[in-house]
């Protein structure tokens, strides 16, 4: 019933607006076309001019409401460079934006059609064209130079002392694999994947796999001020490891391995103080549409001190051990957990 009333209301409003339109057409004829056109022109010219200060006010208002909803300070050096490059770009484009929009709306008002106005036949001017080709080209060149310097910085190879962690995406969660005591990730093969006891398809004939630790809750632990290199891959469709607080992201493509590295400089606890939000947590967002659960592929990053990290690592059980309790004596864990067919067995607390 309410649907019918709503539809009827909408139709009514349309009919009213249409009649207003039609009525204005008749009134133009009655009052003399030229006079009405001139008046309408003046009104519209004024309204257009008004749009510019209105727009500026809107931008200022937007800036003020959004001020405390934006990201806090970047949590890694490349992120800080990012923010400064972004600011430079905003300034350059901002100047162009305000200048051209002002000119546009001002010209609309100033050169509105009037009885006495004559136009100035100005068909071309090569000097002008040269000026406004060269200046944008130079501005672009500067932005490109700054951008490429940052780009090569971000995409450079990770330092040799970087902690290496593998992040694998699947519909619809992230799995993190740590290399364990031997500091090497073992080989894996997608054909060995088994959702019950081998979610990443680790090849158990490779001894480097025996001490690897897998988190299936997407919680990535890293150490503050220590570079970390993520080896990113996917088990099924394309995903993307999005790290907004570090200003980075990288696609996770099945069949292809991608890399992303950064040095976190602010611990999760410090960030809670900086943002005045006790619930703050660094989040990993999936940034490539991967199906119906794309919006729920949430991961987290815990940036902690070396000591906290070591303590956490010591409490982790290797993936092999948690899925093969009979082989437990060979593992280096301190806690053995009962085997459980559910993959939740390896969920870390």
């Amino acid at each position: 019933m309410s649907v019918l009333i709503t539809v009827a209301l909408v139709v009514l409003v349309f009919i009213i607006i249409y009649q207003i339109g039609k009525a204005s057409e008749y009134s133009v004829i009655l009052r003399g076309e030229e006079k009405v056109k001139a008046q309408a022109n003046r009104v519209i010219a004024f309204l257009l001019l008004l749009l510019f200060p209105l727009g500026c006010w809107g931008i200022w208002y937007c800036n003020s409401i959004f001020q405390d909803r934006m990201l806090p300070v970047a949590a890694c050096p490349t992120g800080v460079n990012y923010d400064s490059m972004f600011k430079v770009t905003v300034i350059v484009t901002g100047i162009v934006f305000f200048l051209t929009q002002f000119i546009l709306f001002w010209f609309c008002f100033k050169y509105q059609s009037t009885e006495k106005r004559t136009t100035f036949f100005f068909a071309h001017n090569n000097k002008l064209e040269l000026i406004w080709t060269t200046i944008p080209a130079i501005a672009m060149a500067i932005l490109v130079a700054i951008g490429l310097r940052n780009w090569y910085d971000v995409t450079s190879p990770a330092p040799p002392n970087a902690m290496v962690v593998e992040v694998m995406g699947k519909q619809f969660n992230w799995m993190v694999r740590y290399p364990g005591k031997d500091n090497e990730l073992g080989k894996r093969d997608f054909r060995k994947i088994n959702d019950a006891n081998n979610v990443m398809g680790l090849d158990w004939t490779d001894p480097h796999n025996m001490d690897d630790i897998i988190s299936q809750n997407g919680e990535l632990h890293v150490v503050v001020n220590r570079p970390v290199k993520l080896l990113i891959c996917s088990r099924d469709v394309i995903h993307d490891v999005g790290l907004p607080h570090f200003r980075m992201k990288m696609d996770a493509v099945p069949g292809i391995s991608t890399t992303l590295w950064f040095t976190p400089t602010i611990t999760s606890d410090s960030m809670k103080l900086i943002t005045k939000n006790p619930d703050f947590v660094y989040e990993i967002s999936c940034d490539q549409l991967c199906g119906k659960g794309h919006y729920s592929m949430r991961g987290t990053i815990i940036v902690q001190t070396q000591a906290e990290y070591d303590k956490w690592m010591a409490s982790q059980q290797t993936y092999y051990a948690s899925n093969n309790p009979s082989a437990a004596p060979a593992s280096d864990t301190t806690k053995a957990q009962p085997k459980n067919d559910s993959i939740k067995a390896v969920t870390m607390k």
Partner: protein, 607 residues
């Protein structure tokens, strides 16, 4: 009777008198209804067919955005009206995630391809090219007819995909595999995807048929005196649009064919090392990134295919309604050439975060930021065109001016995204959504509206209602900025695109209020577009009639045809052209313009 037949049966299609070229080969004047109105080979009829089909698709595509904006703006609410429209897909009045993604996908597909490519190029290239170059019809009217009917066939398949049980395609309008290749990955990768792919294949055929025709007509069928450099900028823009399409659509076609093969014939072009649905798939060796290259090789020129006609039409409208020549005619042509060439070599700026070699990325950064230069030149030329003009603010002019403002805004944010280091953070966030909507979804649409209001008299012999036009302009212009400006901030804050719900995200849930605001404005703007549609259709029968041949005082050839041009456009000989199309100056007889068909006065130099 469907809409089409009613419109075409209107007074416009006056039956042609003896035409100089009798390329239909019919012996007598009377054509059967089917050949005259349905499978018509007359470019004017075909242009109206494209326009109406485009309008219908635009309403559907925009309606989808209203639905998913309701979900985004009010994720905790239910809307019984959605269940009325969408049934199972919105059980309990709330969109299911699968169908949310299907709506988002189809919104993009419909608006980018079916409205802004077919509805824009199809309508205006067909309407304006023969008129403005002085031809009686296109080079191949038969192929032209086929281009519309292939578009119609593509539309049928696409429309059908909306009603299949597993739902329409839902992998985004970009349809990346493996998501789109594997039925196990998503409901929307079932039958709906097959229909989508086949629909796109037919669509590409339609575009090619049209594009080849437009190029040939411009190059071969110009009237006497119409040299290339006396063509209006609209024709130049439509020519380059067609070139872009002809060279890039086949690559999309190949990408689509390979995807069809991967889906149905066991190939591994895009698939490698996949475990899904509980088992490891046998595919090895393919690359999902290959699809992205093939897709974006079209995808980037596609956005210029969308942009260029609007640029051409805006140039025309700005010039006519400020009573001044377009400033820098040659510079405008050269910048069109620059944009066309560069459009082909920047595609991988959509792929900066796929793991590509950094060196390759830097090349694309350079080329992408280069393309900003000709675009900037065009903006400055438009501004100089209105400088010291005598501006008449009718709806076409307002939309052309709005076009410039929006192109400035959207173009500048492109500079952020083209710089790869900045793109790393902004990729797949709402910053991208804001950028492409302002530049395609609004600016290009404004170009289309400018053209629609300006050439409506030529299409139907009547005017659209001015007051409704003003209301349409102000609501849409202000509304569009209100919708898309805040999205930039959300993107800068890293808020990802294509998310059904942000409530579980500590980093993004505080944007809920903004999302609700955007949704409210979007609904209002949607209704303003319906106002345009009502204006459009009622004006066809009840609009104020055209009483003079050239109501806008324009210099170009289409205004020398009769108010209701028949088959063959001009009743006698096709006029000869003596001057360029922008002689907006005193003709010595009280007019402030000199049409192209007026011979040079003694002592006057050609421009």
């Amino acid at each position: 009777m469907n809409n089409e037949e009613i419109i075409i049966e209107g007074p416009n299609v006056a039956h042609g008198a003896e035409s100089a070229t009798d390329h239909h080969g019919h012996e007598h004047h009377e054509q059967h209804f089917i050949w005259k109105y349905i499978f018509s080979q007359d470019h004017k009829v075909i242009s109206r067919q494209f326009m109406v089909t485009g309008i219908i698709w635009a309403i559907i595509g925009a309606l989808f955005s209203v639905f998913f904006r309701l979900q985004l703006g009010f994720p905790d609410s239910t809307f019984p009206i959605m269940e009325k429209f969408l049934g199972e897909w919105a059980k309990g009045g709330k969109l299911s995630p699968e169908f949310y993604y299907a709506l988002v996908t189809m919104h993009g597909t419909i608006l980018v391809f079916f409205v802004l490519t077919a509805g824009l190029s199809g309508t205006f290239a067909n309407l304006l090219i023969p008129f403005q170059v002085g031809a009686r019809d296109m080079a191949s009217p038969f192929m032209n007819m086929l281009s519309y009917w292939f578009f119609f066939a593509a539309s049928i398949l696409m429309f059908a995909s909306l009603f299949v049980e597993t739902g329409p395609a839902s992998g985004g309008w970009t349809t990346y595999p493996p998501l789109s290749a594997l039925k196990e990955a998503s409901l929307g990768s079932g039958v709906g995807m097959d229909l989508w792919l086949m629909g796109m294949a037919l669509f590409v055929v339609s575009s090619l048929l049209g594009g080849l025709n437009y190029i040939t007509t411009v190059l071969n069928m110009r009237t006497k005196g119409m040299t290339m450099t006396r063509m209006p900028l609209t024709v130049w823009a439509l020519l380059f649009t067609a070139v872009l399409g002809v060279l890039s659509f086949p690559v999309l076609f190949s990408g689509v064919v390979l995807l069809i093969f991967d889906r149905n014939f066991g190939t591994s072009f895009y698939l490698s090392e996949i475990f899904i649905g509980g088992k490891a798939l046998p595919h090895i060796g393919g690359s999902a990134i290959l699809y992205q290259h093939l897709f974006w090789f079209l995808g980037h020129p596609e956005v210029y295919i969308i942009m260029l006609p609007g640029m051409g039409m805006a140039s025309e409208v700005l010039s006519t309604h400020s009573r001044k020549p377009i400033f820098g005619y040659f510079a405008m042509i050269i910048s069109l050439v620059g944009i066309t060439l560069l459009a082909f070599v920047v595609w991988a700026h959509h792929m900066f975060v796929t793991g590509m070699s950094p060196f390759l990325g830097s090349i694309f950064v350079l080329l992408t930021l280069l393309i900003a230069v000709p675009s900037a030149v065009k903006v400055f030329n438009w501004l100089t065109t209105i400088w010291r003009g005598n501006i008449r603010f009718n709806p076409p002019m307002l939309f052309a001016l709005g076009f410039v403002s929006l192109f400035i805004s959207g173009g500048l944010t492109g500079i952020f995204l083209g710089n790869s280091a900045l793109d790393i953070h902004l990729h797949d966030t709402y910053f991208v959504v804001a950028h492409f909507h302002i530049v395609m979804g609004v600016s290009a649409f404004f170009g289309m509206f400018a053209g629609a209001y300006h050439w409506f008299p030529k299409m139907f012999g009547r005017f659209m209602n001015n007051t409704l036009g003003y209301i349409h302009f102000f609501i849409t212009f202000i509304g569009a900025y209100l919708i898309f400006w805040p999205m930039h901030y959300e993107g800068i804050a890293g808020m990802p695109r294509r998310y059904y719900d942000y409530s579980a995200w500590e980093s993004f849930k505080h944007f809920q209020g903004v999302n609700a605001f955007i949704s409210c404005v979007a609904i209002i703007v949607f209704f303003a577009q319906l106002l345009f549609v009502v204006n459009f259709f009622t004006s066809i029968w009840r609009g104020r009639k055209m009483t003079t041949l050239n109501p806008w005082g324009s210099t170009t050839l289409e205004w020398t045809t009769p108010i209701h041009p028949g088959h063959g456009n001009w009743e006698g000989e096709i006029p000869e052209v003596y001057r360029w199309p922008y002689d907006y100056k005193d003709d010595g007889h009280g007019n402030d313009f000199i049409p192209q068909t007026t011979p040079l006065r003694p002592g006057e130099e050609a421009h």
